[in-house]
Symmetry: C2
């Protein structure tokens, strides 16, 4: 088991320019395609199946307290993960492109969502402790650590595109 | 992934004698203690954490059709499984003792439940195909293949001891 301590931010100017600042800094300008789905979206015991490039993992996460969450992660055969995504997970499968972006001694993970979450770009950074000081890049906007709306499990069930129509997105657009 | 084809029977005279016939035939007269819990009890995507003796596994199962069910099983560290059983699974943890019982060319798995499922003894046998002929031992009683009440995930949520008080057990006792 690992304890995952991370902070999460909306990304500014996410879709405003062809090559936003964060993407210029990315190790991998094409990013890696992630496809993931959930066998359980229960926040006390989330179970995720993820295909990242040609690697697959099954991940169990406990409830988040502060910015810490217990996490159990196991590599699984790619073929198993594909079958689970096609046949077993709660629909829909969530797709995003992940970029690794080094900044000030940390490697940020920037997720550019696709499908019904297109337009949403979120940056996460893993810390050694909850108290660790963190230098924020210009493109890091509002902090959304612990906000359940931005859990990937929630985005799979209640995608960003639907927030607009429900009127609860107006004041919270990441491009504010 | 594996396709799990199995038939399940209640065991007759389960608690009537000190050493019932099936236990006399068991490879391991003490059986093996199983402790298991569920991260998802959804019958379309059950996720089970199991400690069997000193081995631990994480298992994902799809819906049963006929007596076939898709199953994905992964060994995990014992310590991870114990933490998940203690901290993450939907309570309560289900306990049973499993015996391997060879009979007529198959190895039957006989589960003697403990805790709130005490008194329930169930025998399962894995088949090569749904049509395979099967010689039944005398101690195999009513067939309950596909009966959701006898899914271990259900027994964890609605244990056998409670059936009595709900009055839905009278005609279905395994010792009939």
């Amino acid at each position: 088991m690992a304890l995952e301590i991370e902070r999460k931010f909306l990304v500014r100017d996410a879709g405003d320019t062809v090559l936003p600042d964060w993407k210029r800094l990315a190790e991998d300008p094409e990013g890696t395609l992630y496809r993931q789905g959930y066998l359980s979206r229960d926040p006390d015991r989330t179970v995720r199946v993820r295909v990242a490039g040609d690697k697959a993992r099954l991940t169990v996460k406990g409830r988040t307290t502060g910015c810490t969450r217990s996490e159990f992660e196991y590599p699984i055969p790619l073929e198993d993960a594909r079958r689970m995504l096609d046949e077993l997970v709660l629909p829909p499968v969530l797709e995003k492109r992940r970029y690794r972006v080094p900044f000030a001694g940390h490697v940020w993970e920037v997720d550019e969502f696709e499908g019904e979450n297109r337009g949403l770009v979120v940056a996460e950074v893993e810390l050694e402790s909850e108290e660790e000081a963190l230098l924020l890049p210009d493109w890091a906007g509002e902090e959304v650590t612990g906000d359940p709306r931005y859990y990937n499990a929630t985005l799979s069930e209640n995608p960003y595109a639907r927030w607009k129509t429900e009127g609860d997105r107006a004041s919270e657009t990441p491009n504010d």
